[in-house]
């Protein structure tokens, strides 16, 4: 029985268990419901958990462990020369065996028989079924593949029996355990708690996993390029074309990329913060409920636009517009129609990114401003303050920690933003302060280094992980700083 059918079986047993548990509890309770510690649906839940959860765990363990056991058993019968070969060669051979084994199950019995006799053309027959082989099969492989299929089938069969037996066992055990004094409610509650904890640990474990994998790859990179050259180098010249060749010593200076990232982020924040904050203040303090009900979702639509679309917008519309208008201005001022703003520039990327960030700033700040107690507003208005005085002197100071937190969160988005800068900022890694010229960012370079056919052994590709971990550290610092600020102000204001 395959895994999915087995899962379905478990579910059916679980549902049956639930009804049996309920019925038994109802029967035990009789007319007097209060004689049971828990309501009958909790007893049903209790039997459900007992009949499904242990069996599910067994299934998971079996599925993850049994292939390894089966394959080591098969590998023991390999000829000596294969066993003594390098690990990578062994893996390759085993890959072929696995493919044959898979192919055998797809073939008709007569075709399979010709293969086993050694009369049929293995590669041709298998590729006709959509199973490509990496190399020509050796004679021992056929027996190994047959053995593999046999053992796998046995394992499957054993698994089915064991899982269903465990499930039914759990069902009978829990049905027998149902009694007026059984605290089924508390036990079901504990299972729910456990599943909640499991769900929250998924996110944390994933984060740890991501950091670990990035650290691993980055450490490869740092074994090839010294860390100080990466972190303090002012020249970015990875020498892509020469990658893989013997003397491909590129220069991997982080500084130009980091400066570009921060510069574009700064321009974006200069656009997003005033506009977003002002619109939040308008929405929270002035707008009538009807306007608010209409305008707030409209503003939030901006947040739903994919950033690649903003990228088009920057590349097709904003960039050329800025370029042309700068040419006009220059023409009027000096008579020379030479544009001084490049189509791809810090300004273009920063401006469009700023537009993208407006809804984040305004939506987050709006929530924070609305959360300021009405009593404070009334207090200020009751003293004869105008609305804007109230906003400026009471509401914004009270909301400040939250707003600063929101702004720092927005900033970390700006730092990590990719698609807009890929399309609008340019790829020239240089250090300069003119916002009308292109610069590039960490994220752009990660994209550049990872698109292409390079293998993950050269510093040209591995540098992407070093950049990634730097970016991660940067946003982490921003977030920690945001928390620090929020906490500091909270102490002062409460």
């Amino acid at each position: 029985m395959s895994g999915s059918v087995l899962l379905l079986c478990l579910l059916v047993i679980g549902v049956v268990a639930y009804w049996l548990g309920r019925m038994r509890a109802n029967a035990l309770a009789g007319a007097k419901l209060s004689s049971m510690h828990s309501r009958s649906s909790y007893h049903g839940g209790y039997t459900f958990v007992w009949s499904v959860l242990p069996a599910l765990l067994l299934l998971a363990v079996w599925v993850s462990v049994s292939p390894t056991i089966v394959e080591t058993t098969v590998a023991r019968s390999f000829p000596q020369e294969v066993l003594t070969a390098a690990q990578s060669a062994q893996n390759l051979e085993f890959g072929i065996i696995r493919s044959i084994a898979r192919g055998l199950t797809l073939l008709s019995s007569s075709d399979a028989a010709t293969l086993v006799n050694g009369t049929g053309d293995v590669r041709a027959l298998l590729s006709a079924k959509g199973v490509p082989l990496a190399g020509d099969p050796k004679p021992y492989m056929m027996t190994a593949a047959l053995e593999l299929n046999r053992l796998t089938a046995i394992s499957q069969w054993l698994m089915t029996v064991a899982v269903i037996a465990l499930s039914l066992g759990g069902l009978f055990f829990s049905l027998k355990a149902i009694a007026p004094k059984l605290r089924a409610r508390n036990r079901v509650e504990r299972v729910i708690l456990g599943s909640l904890i499991a769900a929250s640990s998924v996110a944390i474990l994933t984060t740890i996993g991501i950091i670990a994998s990035m650290l691993g790859e980055a450490s490869h990179f740092f074994s090839m390029v010294p860390a100080h050259e990466f972190f303090f180098g002012t020249v970015w010249d990875p020498r892509f074309a020469a990658a893989g060749a013997g003397n491909s010593e590129g220069q991997f200076g982080l500084i130009p990329l980091l400066l570009g990232t921060l510069y574009i982020g700064l321009v974006a924040m200069l656009v997003a913060v005033p506009v977003g904050l002002f619109s939040a203040i308008y929405m929270a303090e002035y707008a009538s409920p009807r306007l608010r009900a209409f305008a707030k979702p409209m503003l939030e639509v901006l947040a739903g636009i994919p950033t690649i679309v903003y990228g088009f917008f920057a590349m097709i519309t904003v960039g050329p517009f800025l370029r042309d208008i700068s040419a006009q201005i220059n023409g009027i001022a000096t008579g020379n129609f030479q544009n001084f703003i490049q189509a791809q520039s810090v300004l273009t990327a920063g401006f469009v990114m700023g537009i993208m960030l407006i809804p984040y700033v305004s939506s987050l700040s709006d929530d924070i401003i609305t959360a300021v107690p009405r009593a404070l507003r009334d207090g200020s208005l009751g003293l004869g303050a105008t609305r804007s005085e109230t906003v400026k002197k009471v509401i914004l100071p009270a909301a400040l920690p939250g707003i600063v937190g929101a702004l720092l969160m927005t900033a970390s988005r700006a730092v990590g933003e990719t698609m807009i800068v890929v399309l609008a900022a340019g790829v020239a890694a240089r250090i300069q302060i003119n916002p009308f010229e292109p610069m590039t960012t960490v994220t752009v370079k990660i994209v550049n280094q990872l698109t292409g056919d390079l293998e993950f052994t050269s510093p040209q590709t591995l540098v992407a992980f070093a950049l990634g971990i730097t970016l991660f550290a940067l946003t982490l610092c921003l977030n920690i700083y945001a928390l620090y600020i929020v906490r500091k102000y909270r102490e002062q204001y409460e």
Binding site: S288, P289, P373, A375, L376, R377, D378, G379, S380, L381, G382, L383, G384, A385, T386, E389, K393, V394, P397, A398, Q492, Y493, E494
Partner: protein
């Protein structure tokens, strides 16, 4: 003998209060929240340097009436006021009236103490700063000190004026809010159940304070406590279901009310 002297005192008080000038006056005041009418043709006069208590069961409209007096109802969406409310003969709902200026003349203290998240000093200096009542630090210091003194809080906080106002106890916070209102030198102070969030000791202090403030301000207070109304006020107005049931001298109100509903409410038969 005893009876006689009490009537004599009453007479003296009565004369004193009828002599008191009219400070504010409501004529046919109706208030609507959307479709729902909350006040029906209320006619009520507020006399100068008098404490007027508004009593009545929950939802009777007393807080609503209080809020019409400095147009705090304006901040509530779809709230509509009809009729005429005057302050020193001027209609405060007249379009020519600046609501900000009105609220500077008619200050307000709320049910829950609501100090700003600022220092004690800044809380008190807030109103004067907005209205430009002081020119330099020395003048501000003086306003802050005198306001806190009037609110009976000076001795407790004079050494920690820079600490946040939110760090004070509930009763102190409420007196800070009174100081804040006083600092603007309003003519009328509206108090919306100012003691409902306070313990009996803090309540006693605030009541004492109301007594003292009466010398300089006209005070309108909404209260749920009959004893409090009897203790602090000279005039009492009884509201019931959006109607002004009775308006009278406090002493008369609590001994021999004209209206049966007032009698019932005071005796605790409803509300």
């Amino acid at each position: 003998m005893n009876m006689l002297s009490e009537t004599a005192v009453e007479k003296v008080l009565e004369r004193k209060m009828t002599n008191a000038a009219l400070k504010m006056s409501g004529k046919d005041v109706c208030v609507f929240y959307g479709e729902k009418q909350a006040l029906y043709n209320v006619n009520l006069d507020i006399r100068e340097n008098t404490v007027t208590a508004l009593i009545g069961p929950s939802g009777c409209g007393k807080s609503t009436f209080l809020r019409t007096l400095n147009r705090m109802n304006d901040t509530i969406d779809n709230c509509r006021v009809t009729g005429r409310i005057s302050l020193d003969q001027d209609d405060i709902y007249d379009p020519s009236i600046d609501v900000v200026e009105l609220r500077a003349r008619v200050g307000m203290v709320f049910q829950k103490p609501n100090p700003f998240p600022k220092s004690i000093y800044e809380n008190v200096a807030y109103g004067p700063r907005i209205h430009g009542l002081a020119r330099n630090k020395a003048e501000f210091d003086e306003i802050v000190e005198s306001s806190l003194q009037r609110a009976g809080l000076w001795n407790e906080v004079k050494d920690r004026l820079n600490e946040p106002g939110t760090g004070l106890s509930g009763g102190q916070q409420q007196r800070l809010c009174i100081a804040r209102a006083v600092a603007v030198s309003p003519e009328v102070i509206l108090m919306d159940e100012p003691c409902s969030a306070l313990d009996p000791i803090a309540t006693a202090r605030v009541e004492e304070l109301i007594h003292e403030l009466r010398a300089n301000f006209t005070i309108v207070i909404v209260t749920h406590s009959m004893q409090q109304a009897a203790r602090v006020s000279q005039r009492t107005a009884m509201f019931h279901m959006g109607l002004l049931v009775e308006e009278n001298d406090t002493d008369k109100m609590f001994t021999n009310p004209d209206d049966q509903r007032t009698q019932d409410y005071i005796m605790g038969r409803f509300g």
